[in-house]
Symmetry: C2
Subunit: 332 residues, 2 copies
């Protein structure tokens, strides 16, 4: 089992990538291929005194930056650290892909270089988000801003398979993100999707209101990529809001400062748990091989966890299970 | 200045409506008309020992419930407490409207019974939301699930006038809710709206990412009603999530329990401040007379504050200012 990791993707590359890869090899028993400027990577391995066992370095030139046209990952940017990692998976030299680089380029490369799993219309970015008593997966987090009902039906199936096989959730509950719980609520998209989900091979629990989702009412939240992206960034923004508000409240007077001494670890735990970036990478579900987007600010531990996700995604055969499930449904 | 208030709208009607109305008359110098079953209201006034000075009671039969077809507010439900309050404003017997009843019926009645302000395409529900250092107004919070760019342009103008005249914010900053800050981000709706807002008589600061909105980057947030409703319910859900998480963390052990004794007031303040329902009512902007939606769970204080909002909305002449501003723009 070999994971290709983009050595220069993310704010803390390549050092944290290297440390995370070394830890993953030691702890998870995987092989890793790191892509990027070979001289720099070798130099950093020495400087960091990181073990190179079961780690291969593949030379690549430059990085595709976040502002750049993501379509170029197939053309002028195919030789970058992300582009080469994609081609290693495409060519079978690696089984799964991890990068903390440009989300847009990762979506394009996953969809067009690695390619879609059989029967998949459009892959979806699928962040794992924290709820009160566990996690839920959100599809689509932003890969497809506008969607048809059939795409949302596929997202429901893909998310269910991932949560069951990789997340270990039995019979995951699927909710359709909507402005009310009643069946007739929402736009045409939600109304059509509701009808499709009623007859789909998933555990559909109906419409899910955004206010109930963080409280853990379902395991798979399905919506279009525009709404999903707004949802996940609102969750993120409210995490920051709470953190800042709590800090200013605790600094108000001597008594509250004293309280903070007792409470600060708890407060840190809560605000950290609310940060979906802490949970790990976001799979791009619907590609022919596992693709994991690690957060841009990933440290070594986050890279190790993203590699673990890629390994579990690959070893559970979730891609094939998704393909088989999709065959059961007659898509228009 | 007379405010018509739906005596039987909301979870705590009519008692909290009555207490809130009496407090509003005493503190704000307004007259109030309460609609609903006259005998019941009179009986509750006596039981609550509430002052009736400058309060008139207008008989009405029944209530339009949240599940009912909101269009009936014009027909079979025109004689309910909400329907009669609308007609009082329509006929000039009152200057502004307040209800904690069905949001859908309030939107229909505001738009179709009271009617739209001159030049307005579609009124928008406009909740006032908490940010780190103040408030912002969100349009549309859910009145129009699907919108065209010209509607969003109007929302930007209406929200700016309200925040300036009623909110006291000088030159309010308008942000377009979007999945990224760059001008080319979003769906066709956001791209078209961006172009319109660049040339509009508002202080447009560009696209606003949902993660930055709670941190106070703008005073007016513009989006379609589906996205706006998802956004505001996510804010609400994350408030509940944080409250529950903090509570369970503080109950973890003796030390954290001790910390909670010092910190609990601060924590309560933060979670309460994050609850947009605490701020007051949501104006339905774009109607010919001020319409305020009080939250369903409003208590006397919340009703008093909603009446205050209605008074300020009316006395600042914000409706006429909106009409004049809209004349400056050439809408398609």
């Amino acid at each position: 089992m070999t994971v290709a990791i983009d050595g220069f993707g993310g704010d803390n590359a390549p050092d944290e990538v290297i440390k995370g890869a070394a830890a993953a090899v030691a702890e998870l028993g995987v092989n890793v291929v790191i892509t990027g400027d070979k001289d720099v990577i070798n130099e950093r391995f020495s400087a960091l005194k990181a073990a190179k066992k079961n780690i291969e370095i593949y030379n690549a030139e430059g990085v595709i930056e976040i502002g750049e046209n993501p379509l170029e990952i197939r053309n002028t940017k195919a030789g970058t650290s992300m582009g080469v990692a994609f081609s290693l998976v495409k060519n079978g030299q690696a089984d799964a892909f991890v990068s903390a680089g440009s989300t847009a380029a990762l979506t394009v490369g996953g969809t067009m270089v690695i390619g879609r799993a059989k029967g998949v219309k459009r892959p979806a970015l699928s962040p794992i988000m924290p709820s009160i008593d566990g996690n839920y997966i959100l599809l689509d987090g932003g890969a497809n801003l506008e969607c048809r009902a059939e795409m949302l039906l596929q997202f429901a199936i893909m998310g269910s398979v991932y949560m069951e096989k990789v997340g270990g959730v039995k019979n995951p509950r699927v909710g359709l993100l909507n402005v009310g719980t009643e069946a007739e609520k929402g736009r045409d998209l939600e109304k059509s999707t509701f009808e499709l989900l009623k007859n789909a091979p998933v555990n559909f629990i109906g419409n899910a209101e955004a206010r109930d989702v963080p409280l853990g009412i379902c395991d798979v939240v399905v919506t279009d990529g525009f709404t999903g992206n707004i949802f996940l960034k609102t969750v993120e923004g409210m995490g920051s809001y709470m953190k800042k508000s709590l800090k200013s409240i605790f600094m108000r007077n001597a008594l509250s400062k004293a309280g903070y001494l007792f409470a600060k670890n708890g407060v840190k735990d809560v605000t950290k748990k609310a940060d979906y970036r802490e949970i790990g990478g976001s799979p791009l579900l619907g590609t022919a091989k596992p693709v994991i987007k690690a957060h841009g600010s990933s440290d070594a531990k986050a890279f190790k966890n993203a590699i673990r996700q890629a390994k579990e995604f690959s070893e559970t055969g979730a891609v094939e299970i998704i393909e088989n499930k999709l065959k059961q449904v007659d898509f228009k």
